[in-house]
Amino acid sequence: MEEIYAKFVSQKISKTRWRPLPPGSLQTAETFATGSWDNEENYISLWSIGDFGNLDSDGGFEGDHQLLCSIRHHGDVMDLQFFDQERIVAASSTGCVTVFLHHPNNQTLSINQQWTTAHYHTGPGSPSYSSAACTGVVCNNPEIVTVGEDGRINLFRADHKEAVRTIDNADSSTLHAVTFLRTPEILTVNSIGQLKIWDFRQQGNEPSQILSLTGDRVPLHCVDRHPNQQHVVATGGQDGMLSIWDVRQGTMPVSLLKAHEAEMWEVHFHPSNPDHLFTCSEDGSLWHWDASTDVPEKSSLFHQGGRSSTFLSHSISNQANVHQSVISSWLSTDPAKDRIEITSLLPSRSLSVNSLDVLGPCLVCGTDAEAIYVTRHLFS
């Protein structure tokens, strides 16, 4: 059993994110950021899981995470992303988007940049507007894309005061999450079960492609793109279903997997080991999906080839795809779905697990029960 450490932090955690490692670094993750929600005062905090040695002889044991610094955040933290090593972008329920800067020398956070009314509603027939929650943010240095309850998409640049591009009324319903597909293209999910692809090269406010769940219009809450195969996308819905999509073909998901019993709040492919996928849900569970074939000792180079051949033996009909050695284990139309092994990572379930993030062998998640869980041995 993996060791997983819990710490109660006196605030409901809405988002947890690992700080990215410098390129080429051999270190493992050791700093993560959290955002809180639904408190009288909300905070963005930075935590370290590094060993403190004798520094905390009173009670702190190895594996426990320590608070580095925190800063007040106006409104609920709806989403949180690291822009680079030092900067964190936070989306607020007040419609404000803020870039926080971490000063490692004196361990403080400060506001680096702010777009106060990134998302807002316009009342019927009146110029006055009220704020709308910003629900999602995604960064790809130097660009920041935000989406909100107002159905608006904003494209910011870190060095620009104004939005570079705004798509008003991009969606008639609430946009719940956003991610980059390829550089000028983004992908959004909304509250009527649609997945839309937007190309910033195109003018106008029409998406370049709409994919949707059939019939039921189940809201989608989260989206993540396969790190290597950019056409493979995973989404999680209100009914707790995990959907895998191939955005190159069709307008419907490739597979629908029955998962959680309530809203799936986040889904993440493992960044360097994408046969592994992680999901968390309102029902208080955190799952690890393992779609790698059952031959774990293969090296990663042979891994890909090996899997292709096993895939072949299963379904000859997909010969058109054979030459692409990038057939994803997630897109396999193999009816034998039992190849995916699912493990539950949290011991007892109670309140919602709102967010999770994976980096290398480390996983962090935050819950409404005001606890942060960290494990450093995911694949042990």
Partner: protein, 656 residues
């Protein structure tokens, strides 16, 4: 009405002169609103400028402590675990489960206490530090009471092991000895340390005889003169019979051995063996259970329950649970010696020793400032089947009453409300209605929060609340001009009336702008379209536009006609529909058949004949009427032309 158990405490509100002005108030679940009135008893006419403030008074302030929040959150998990303990489990396994749960609760209290202690030390402001320190002592008292209740009510230790548990209890809570011991042993010459004999005495008082013996050997090494008597004392300590958990000896055997040992000690006292060393002699008296000798060590004992346990250890080690209350009462009386009166904590512990659970809970409820302790303890004791018989004269039983109080306090807090939900779930009688009342009052600032509240309601089939939340969100979306969102929410609530209202807004917008907004939603309504007639019409009308756009004129035409003939389309919209038919009528090929054209004509005549006749008309009205008349004329012309073409075409087709 029962009599009051104590004087109610008076809370002064800063800034309000309650002598001069009358106040009014209103109850809330965890809070009270208070404000001054301008009502004056004596001079009625005089208008005094009254205080413009409304005060919020909270009764459950502890909920707002950052550190106690950890207690609430962590114990919530334990509480849930306890509720899920299999009812089928009986006997030993059930008892061990319950003891484990109790220990978990205590370890959470301890963790909180330690953190609070750290904060109290680190506090820069002395007033702040004092506040934290007082919290520490409250938490410490809670743990003390809980631990005793665990021993007496949950563990139900029998004679023999009972005393061992009580010793552990005292050792855990009178823990200054450890730092003292480190201090003494750390010094160069331990036996010459000022506190050396104090330390040895405390160790003996706590029954830690092995450690006391080691200390004595140090004294023996240092002063050869007293080495002999130190060794004798050491032997006495070593040979004191105690019940060890692994041992199989019976209580009678133990009592017999203990009697022998006691007589041996007695002999040494009579022989005045230790006369040369007053320290050793007083130790011997303690080991003989001499009350006067024990009371001399009042300061080292620090409290009466320590005195009680030490006294039992050296006079009646196999005390039966049933006799505890007698010893407890007399120990309290002896220890206080009439100098001071017992404090609330003393009364609570005394009630526990008397096995009066209800008194314990009652006293705790009065003494402690929050409901956490009594609610969780009562719930645990209820799971031990100790409270079944007791019913209150109001509400349901005591467990439920206390849980409801606690959960209501959580709901009054801006972010702990989620914890309260699970507590309400485990209140079989009034939990659900309480939840229904509380959940509607949660402010919904974001859709995400609303979704969480909705999930809670949907899981519990609280349809009324689901509908009301969706309606609130739909209303808000309409106010924010987010018609698509509004429609989604009313579909989720299955609220036909509201869906009709939103559909009307869509149609009105269409008439004004000539194009539809939010196509992504309307095009994908699916079966939800059937929710209301107007929504069906909206969906179908949009479908007509799509067919027209795709140049599927025949399909579009028959759909358009059917919208009117099936009466799905609101009459007010017929003119628009007929106008939409115009371009179809003017197409090169014949689209409407003769039959269909007749239908269209009937619709037009139907519409024009029922048009209300205005008695008075201003210029604008006249102008409008003008346009309308032209439209009707044009329609009639087109229809007639189309009919002619259709008849010719159909006739020629049949003929050929």
């Amino acid at each position: 009405m029962e009599e009051l158990d104590g004087e109610p405490t008076v809370t002064l509100i800063p800034g309000v002169n309650s002598k001069k002005n009358q106040m009014c108030f209103d109850w809330g679940p965890g809070e009270m609103l208070v404000c001054e009135t301008s009502f004056n008893k004596k001079e009625k006419s005089e208008m005094v400028p009254s205080c413009p403030f409304i005060y919020i008074i909270r009764k459950d302030v502890d909920v707002y402590s950052q550190i106690l929040r950890k207690l609430f959150n962590e114990s919530h998990g334990i509480f849930l675990g306890l509720q899920r303990i299999d009812e089928e489990l009986t006997g030993k396994s059930r008892k061990s489960q319950l003891v484990r749960v109790s220990k978990n609760y205590r370890s959470v209290i301890r963790a909180c206490m330690e953190e609070m202690h750290q904060v109290a030390i680190a506090a820069k402001d002395p007033a702040n530090g004092r506040q934290f320190s007082s919290q520490v002592s409250i938490l410490s008292a809670m743990e003390l009471i809980w631990n005793l209740c665990e021993i007496l009510f949950i563990e139900v230790a029998p004679a023999g092991p009972l005393l061992l548990h009580l010793l552990d209890w005292v050792r855990l809570h009178v823990c200054e000895v450890d730092s003292l011991s480190a201090d003494v042993l750390g010094s160069e010459n331990p036996s010459k340390h000022d506190s050396f004999w104090n330390l040895v005495t405390i160790l003996v008082l706590q029954g830690r005889l092995d450690e006391a013996r080691q200390m004595l050997s140090k004294e023996a090494d240092a002063s050869p003169a007293s080495a002999g008597i130190c060794r004798i004392m050491g032997d006495l300590m070593r040979t004191m019979p105690i019940l060890s958990p692994g041992n199989t000896q019976t209580l009678t055997e133990l009592e017999l051995k203990w009697q022998h040992w006691h007589e041996e000690c007695e002999r040494y006292l009579q022989d005045s063996t230790f006369a040369t060393s007053p320290h050793l002699e007083s130790l011997l008296k303690i080991m003989l259970g001499d009350e006067a000798a024990l009371l001399e060590q009042k300061e080292l004992l620090s409290n009466w329950y320590h005195f009680l346990v030490t006294r039992l250890l050296y006079s009646n080690p196999t005390v039966k649970p049933i006799d505890l209350h007698y010893y407890a009462q007399s120990s309290l009386d002896l220890f206080l010696g009439g100098e001071s009166s017992p404090e609330p904590l003393d009364n609570i512990l005394l009630a526990a020793f008397e096995f009066d659970i209800h008194q314990v809970i009652k006293e705790c409820s009065i003494a402690l400032s929050n409901w956490w302790f009594v609610a969780h303890l009562t719930d645990l004791l209820d799971h031990c089947k100790l409270l079944q018989s007791h019913n209150l004269y109001f509400g349901s039983n005591m467990r439920e009453f206390l849980l409801l109080e606690y959960a209501s306090g959580l709901f009054a807090h801006p972010s702990l409300w989620q914890l309260g939900v699970d507590y309400f779930d485990y209140c079989p009688e009034l939990g659900r209605v309480s939840l229904e009342l509380h959940i509607e009052r949660i402010p919904l600032n974001t859709e995400q929060k609303a979704l969480k509240v909705l999930r809670i309601c949907e899981q519990r089939q609280m349809t009324e609340q689901v509908r009301s939340i969706c309606k609130i969100l739909a209303m808000r979306a309409v106010r924010n001009n987010r018609l698509g969102s509004a429609l989604s929410w009313s579909i989720r609530a299955k609220d036909a009336a509201f869906a009709t209202l939103v559909s009307d807004r869509f149609l009105r917008d269409y008439c004004e702008r000539g194009c539809f907004s939010d196509l992504d939603l309307i095009d994908n309504l699916g079966p939800a379209m059937m929710l209301s007639d107007r929504l069906t019409f909206l969906g179908k009308y949009r479908e007509f536009h799509r067919m027209y756009g795709e140049k599927r004129f025949a399909d579009a035409a028959s759909l358009l006609l059917s919208l009117m003939t099936s009466r799905i389309a609101p009459r007010s919209f017929w003119m628009t529909l007929l106008t939409d038919a115009l371009p179809l009528l003017e197409q090169k090929q014949v689209i409407f058949s003769a039959e269909q054209t007749y239908e269209l004509m009937r619709c037009l005549e139907d519409l024009t004949s029922r048009r209300p006749v205005h008695g008075e008309s201003d210029t604008e009205q006249l102008q409008d009427d003008d346009i309308e008349t032209t439209k009707v004329e044009m329609l009639r012309l087109s229809l007639a032309r189309n009919l002619a073409r259709a008849i010719i075409r159909e006739g020629s087709l049949e003929g050929s």
